[in-house]
Amino acid sequence: MKSYLALAAQYERVHRKSSRMSVLCIVFSVLLVTAVFSMADMALRAQKSYFIKTNGEYHASVTGISEETAALIGARLDVAVCGWTYQGSTGMIGSKTVSFAGANADTFSVLTEMAMQSGTYPARPDEALLNQTALEQLGLSAGDTVVVTVPDGRAKAYHVTGVLQDMGSLLQADVYGMVMNEDGFRAIADENADDGTTFRIQFKSGVNIRAALREIRDAYGLADRQVAENTALLGLMGQSENSTMQSLYIVAAFLILLVLTAGTVMIASSFSTNVLERIQFYGLLRCLGADKGQVKHFVIRQGLRQSMRGVPIGLLAGQIVTWFACFLLKSVSGDRFSDVPMFQFSAGGLLAGAAIGFLIVILAALSPVTAVSGNSQLAEHRRAANTSRLHVDTGMGIFHALSGKKNLFLMTCSYAISIMMFLSFQVLVVFLGEGMPALAPSAADLTVTMGGTALDRTLTARISAVDGVQRAFGRMEETELSVSSIRGAGTVTLVSYDDRQLRWAEDELRQGSAASLQDGGEYVLAVYQDGQNWMAGDTLTFQTAAGERQMTIAGVLSAVHAANPAGSCGYVVCSEQTFSELAGSAGYTAIDVQVSEPNDDAAAAAVRNLLPADSTVSDKRLRNSESRSAYYTGAIFIYGFLTVIALITVVHIFNSMSASAASRTRQYGMMRSIGMGAEQLSRMIAAEAFTYAVLGCATGCVLGLPLNRLMFQFLIAEKWGTGWTIPAGPLFMIVLLCLASAGIAIRRPIRRISSMSIVDAMKRGQ
């Protein structure tokens, strides 16, 4: 041994078990921080890559500027790429609408959401790309010529040079997509092109985009409405001025703080459990002549040694958890995140994990030094345990928990922070699910409409019979139906639901029930609309062709599936029978079709063949799959966070209880020697563990629920008007997990102490 510092290694060898526990705590805390930060980073990268794919990689778009201004903007040093994109004009190919777009090849490939699947980019004004579905439906391929009716009514032939990748927006609108170069588009553009013509800008990396846009506005005298940011992309880059994004930034900052606090508390808590043993040792060093500085150096050396072992393992484990989440993402999201590499590292996540691991370990390690240099840490009790109201074993257990203030604070915080994190992240899951009609069981893959003409109601049965179609169901709609109630008068759009749709609607109810509508009768469902305060139980008076008709609101839905716009009082949903009574029995306004296999184009084509020629089929499959992917991506990462948090909570509780019981082994042995039975010992340890758990859960609920409510108001209620309710399910789950962890955590120490001979137990710590 060349230096007293070498004693650190010696100490670890002798106290192998407690050292191992400290290292394990470091591993889990670093794992928590690394995994959460890396997963967040990966989610951001995945979303960014998706938004680039779907919106284009531009940062801002400018409208209503001259070529000269555009050239001046393009010449700025902070601009990387820029160019014009033209949209808005439409024409016809046969009986089908075609939407035109124009851009030069560079702008098309970088700044737009469009992508060329194959072929070459149009170089001449009479060349074009046509989307894949259009080519399939028209029986064409690259190299063929297509005749298009351009906006001024002329028929013009275009040479198809390549295939434009299908986009959800085209399929949903049931139109073809055609891309030309700038000259080609300008040659056919009509006045509609003005609205769709934008000058898109991508700034160089590291540029303060907000400041750059302000400069551009000021320099060229542009109005605010002329400059629009690409909110999705800038939002992910942390540069958005959008208010929803600003809200999300605040939430993200708060969650980061919460995760860092959790990591800190867990390490500090774990270190405090074996502090007594270490204080005795440091006290011994002081007795042998070590000064405060030397003890401090020794402690830091010890902390660093443990960090050197724990941090790399934690980083690796966090990375593996992240990769697993990425793997899940790829397998669930399919095409959408196919380009997210599997084995990426997140510098932010690794740095955060390592920093937490080293810094907090050293800070936590230093606390016993302060204790040694100050008063004795062999905590003198100031008051006696309460043994008059409770059984002595239970009373002692509770007293053990309550008497160590620091330990009590840290243990309570561990539970409370876990619950708070769980309840915070839970809001994000709800946030994801809100406004995602694609996730509803009623989500249609195809929606058939025929302008203002009603569709034959028997069509649903014929469509349902098509091979590959899972089900088809229709809605009748009547607009501008006059209605009055004690809360005011106006018009509504009346929508009919069949029995199945009414069953599905149960899940979308904000209040009341939809069950009474299935029998027909005098009941309807109102639909939530901002500023409209209809409640379940209100009576509505409809002005129908047959006179006034009174109906009762059985419930209020949060959303409705309808093809027509809402009336001044929104929508009202009723059964088909009631609809016929109120508005007459017409055909369906829209028929929704769900296919068994979303990729089954044959089924979609077969449905089209059944329909009248002037009907429109809105193909929502791609959009639905994109929405579902977005949901699952978020859900994987958020549930990933929650799983990591839950696991860390469990492991931390296990460690803490084990360490706490180990530090009292001698006392337990002494109590057994004077007659404490194994069951009483178990009750005592259980009382201690459950005191921490109950206090922690109570604190977690007291702080977590208002936090949950605040975040809910912030992210959901203000946007969708959904009312906050106590998240009973998730709350029950996390509280149960905490209590179960406490219950399981005490089993091992109890078994260990019970199996140890009394004499051995009493020798511990002597």
Binding site: H381, H391, V392, M396, M670, S673, I674, V759
Partner: protein, 227 residues
Amino acid sequence: MNILEVQNLCKVYGAGEAAVHALNQVSFSVRRGEFIAIVGESGSGKSTLLNIVGALDDPTSGSVRIDGKDVFSLSEKELTVFRRQHIGFIFQSFNLIPELDVEQNMIFPLLLDYKVPDKRFVEELLHVLGLTERRKHLPGQLSGGQQQRAAIGRALVTRPALIMADEPTGNLDSKNSQEVIALLQSMSAKYQQTILMITHNENHAGAADRVFRMADGVLQDLGGARQ
């Protein structure tokens, strides 16, 4: 009548050539109310003997009968209750529970039995032990002598058949040591308690009715010591 009968007690630690015979064929018996002192060098097996007789440790062979009951034939649960009700322990390092005050420490074995303590008896003990004024004090607020007196009170509160005292004066100064020995002596007489006490101090052994000497795991009865 014998309250304690020990027959051919052996305790071996380790095996083969490394085996250590801590107790070797130890046999003796003690009558009710007797005050026995066990003396011997460190490592001679005194504490091992006390731990086994007090059913805190298992013997390798032999038997211990307390009040006619073979303690090692009892289940773990029965043994715990038996120990609580029939044996009192006094340790060198007092082993009071730091979270409980003097009175709570004394009645602790009764609380473990979920019994309501006999208030008069507790008051009497506190008085006899000179702890009435200190009854609400925590162990940390007491001197060593006071702590050991509280430990003696704890050992007496269940009126056990047998009290085991392992070097009860080991951590005390000579004045407090004298007091504790006098107290044990008077308790033995007053409450007809049988006491088995380990001590290093030959003078303290002089207070006992009989003295045993342990050497290399073998027990020797030195006979009466009290003058």
